[in-house]
Point group: C2
Chain length 107, copies 2
DNA sequence: AGGTATTATCGTAATATTGCAATATTACAA
DNA sequence: TTGTAATATTGCAATATTACGATAATACCT
């Protein structure tokens, strides 16, 4: 009991859910929102921008990275992140195609 | 410790996260997927379609209802659900506008 | 090599989510 | 009103998530 029964769903259903899970925390929304508005990569100011501790930010970044939404690169001594635009657009498409299939012949 | 610090984020950030949270479980994706493909309202076949117990389905439906994504109406003795199309489109817009603001001048 | 700044990992406590059995509620039919 | 079918609620166990202090690792600089 207690654990999600992933085996009873289709691959696309699980995959949309996993993606949504990343957006299901306001810290990760805030992080993505912030990064996506920057002109270039962002380096180490996230902890100041969001109001969470450094380990917590690191954990959230890791969740976002796991689904391939970030490109990271070393620049000097700092790890710098920016959005992986291809993945970003792929996810947008995923959500869009989910929202697009709807019938409305009732109520 | 352990609880999301909602107070440090903006209203739109929290609201996108709350919406994403509903889509962050494959059962709810499957339920929405199924309902949205039906010709009319669906009545009481969800438990057979998805492989979960009746109380669990009921709980998931409740999560979906909470964000206004379902319209429910009594028809005979059965409670019937269908998608609230206005809300559905509103959420699609929410995700789209989130995905649309992105700069990409690096990497 | 030693110092500093930045990010990652570990360990752990608090909280949230998931799932179901048991039970209650609701609406209708006979 | 009694029975039946469908949905909701309660209570609880299992698991997952969130957050942070402490600590480790990494890369640079002097």
């Amino acid at each position: 009991m207690g654990a999600t029964k992933t085996e009873i769903y289709t691959i696309p259903q699980n995959s949309l859910a996993l993606t949504a899970k990343v957006l299901a925390h306001p810290a990760r929304v805030a992080i993505l929102h912030y990064i996506s508005r920057q002109e270039g990569c962002i380096c180490n100011d996230l902890v100041n921008v969001i109001g969470l501790s450094q380990p917590t930010i690191s954990q959230h970044l890791n969740e976002i990275k796991k689904i391939g939404l970030l490109k990271g690169t070393f620049e000097g001594k700092n790890l710098c992140y920016c959005i992986n635009k291809e993945k970003w657009e792929e996810l947008q498409g995923l959500f869009n195609s989910f929202f697009n299939k709807i019938n409305q012949n009732c109520c």
